[in-house]
Symmetry: C2
Subunit: 370 residues, 2 copies
């Protein structure tokens, strides 16, 4: 495999806040700006470092909100100006990835783009690179390609991709068509999926020629496509960009790329999948974070550079963003998140309910800590 | 009952830190300087307010450490200078109460003193006053008298007093001799005590003529008595007091008044008891604090004037000393204590283990938060 891949451009949508990780993750410090693995750097930086060998550092575009521009440029000091694509407000993944495609295809008509979330955790560099390289070859053959994660357990936390018939693409021995997408299953169904190796986790990774991706958007949502094309036409003109963004961006439909691209393409036999054999997690909530940082069953995981934790007969996770001494005694599967202005105490089993707290804080006028 | 009682002097030993209430209670903010009931004032002030009608405000002495002088005078702005008895270092209850007795008897030979801890919680003013009035009458008759709390449940958290034969003392219809003291029992024993109404909780309240109390100390610990007498002789002489304290106080035995006065007096048939029918708690740990502030089974109690707590499906207690938002989700019998520099998360069942944390913090060089 030649590195970097010459016609490949990486795109990192860095949008979501990660409400279920409040009070760690919040509007001014979203999930992708945190170190959630104890690696010493943010998930965004981890993502950049993972993609740079594949695309080259000068070929990674980040799509993010205006509010996060400074943080993104601080994390990624080598990012080129032209590769920072700023949204005036969040409009979901179809608009974010579609805009990147529309901008890049004008600069480079044959470009293949690969979109990878800024806030996922991946371990296993070589298997990741092998999957991307295969996906690029499949994309070069005209397919839209996703990478589906080979499950390591019967998870009910992710959507699934059902692998269909194999594809015969040079350089992509594992390529197959996507038969269909499946929503998060119940545990029994997840167990049958896990036993049947043809079900993969949907990790939201998409690799395609930019023009193919845009054609798929056009076929399924012409208004969104038209807006993206018009916006892209003004993008590289300093005077025209601002007014175009202000006028067009707020009118674009808020919709996930799954519905505008992936699912319709799968129905038409135009969506391929490469199985990813690397460790992957979207760190969707604190239960996931606890597992990811677990030091073993019945142990207490600790996340935070300056954490001063004194634990006795406890398991779960403590996330410390302060210098306070934290003492945890006799609590199991606990989740303690200690930040300067907000504290969360819950258990892994209730991790999904954190989003409800965020909603309640908004409703009760305590949005200052969101 | 005549109020105030003319020959009565209240003594409040304000010493203990309350390690099992860390990080709320600590060296520079011991338990008696906290509002643990949501009354809006400290336990020390509650104690003062409870005693003032019985003794008069000018007849309440507080025995406390030099470090707490300013805080005590802030809480009790009406306290007379001569009623602030400062220890150069903590030397336990026999020395503290004995010193107060030795000082007061010189000023007023027939004085009856009543010693009441600064950090207990009592509800029921009239029954408390009735018990004290009876105890003073018993003391006037030459007995040392304690007030034992009529149990409201089979508690294993307190020591017990076995009531013996009734005493015939005018004005004290409930007076009896103390048969013996019993250490904290196991649950089965506590149940038999609770069923047998002659077992009372030892609340550490002692009422006696000062000279009788001192004679008991002299009989059982002549060295301690001699030191106290020498110290008291120098006390009201501004020039002599300081050197006497520095010389004598550190030599006095550290011992509880139970061993030097109460138990020996009980053996000799010189200790009486009045049953107290008021609500009493020594707030020994967070389980006790949670119960005291409980808003009902399965509810979360919240303590702290500026608490911003968002609770969902949780029970136990949150103590907030900060302005942080605290969210508690799906945890039962939880104890969360949030202070500026330390955070505790445990459960009621583990409340007794908090003292172990305090010891561990000392050992590991984190005494800054004690």
């Amino acid at each position: 495999m030649a590195h970097p891949i010459t016609d490949f451009y990486a795109v990192i949508p860095a949008g979501g806040i990660g409400s279920r990780l409040w009070p760690l993750s919040r509007a001014d410090a979203p999930k992708f700006l945190h170190d959630l693995t104890g690696s010493g750097q943010t998930l965004l930086r981890d993502t950049w470092d993972r993609l740079a060998p594949l695309s080259g550092e000068d070929r990674i575009a980040v799509v993010t909100g205006r509010a996060h521009r400074a943080a993104v440029e601080r994390e990624l000091p080598d990012i080129a100006d032209k590769n920072v694509i700023l949204e005036s407000e969040p409009r979901e993944s179809a608009a974010a990835i579609g805009l990147a495609a529309a901008i890049l295809v004008r600069r480079e008509p044959d470009v293949i783009i690969g979109s990878f979330a800024a806030d996922h955790v991946i371990h296993g560099t070589r298997t990741f690179e092998f999957a991307v390289q295969q996906a690029v070859d499949v994309a070069r053959a005209g397919y839209i390609c996703t990478i589906g994660i080979q499950p390591s357990e019967a998870s009910v936390g992710f959507g699934y991709i059902k692998k269909g018939s194999e594809l015969d693409v040079d350089g992509a021995p594992e390529a197959a068509l996507v038969e269909r997408f499946v929503e998060k299953p119940d545990f029994e169904t997840a167990q049958t999926y896990f036993a049947d190796r043809s079900y993969l986790w949907n990790a939201g990774m998409f690799i395609a020629r930019a023009d193919v991706l845009l054609a798929e958007i056009e076929a399924n949502n012409p208004a969104l496509h038209a807006g993206l094309i018009e916006l892209a036409a003004a993008w590289d003109d300093r005077d025209a960009r601002g007014p175009a963004v202000d006028r067009i961006w707020p009118t674009l439909e808020k919709i996930a790329i799954d519905y505008v691209v992936a699912e319709p393409a799968a129905e038409k036999g135009r969506l391929a999948v490469i199985p990813g054999h690397f460790d992957w997690d979207d760190v969707g909530d604190f239960a996931s974070l606890a597992k990811l940082n677990s030091r073993g069953r019945g142990e207490l995981a600790i996340l935070g550079g300056n954490a001063r934790v004194l634990a006795d007969a406890s398991s779960g996770i403590v996330v410390s963003q302060t210098s306070r001494v934290i003492s945890v005694i006799g609590v199991q599967d606990i989740v303690v998140v200690d930040t300067e202005d907000a504290l969360l105490v819950t258990t892994s089993a209730h991790a999904q309910r954190v989003k409800g707290v965020v909603d309640a804080l908004k409703l009760t006028g305590r949005g200052d800590v969101l």
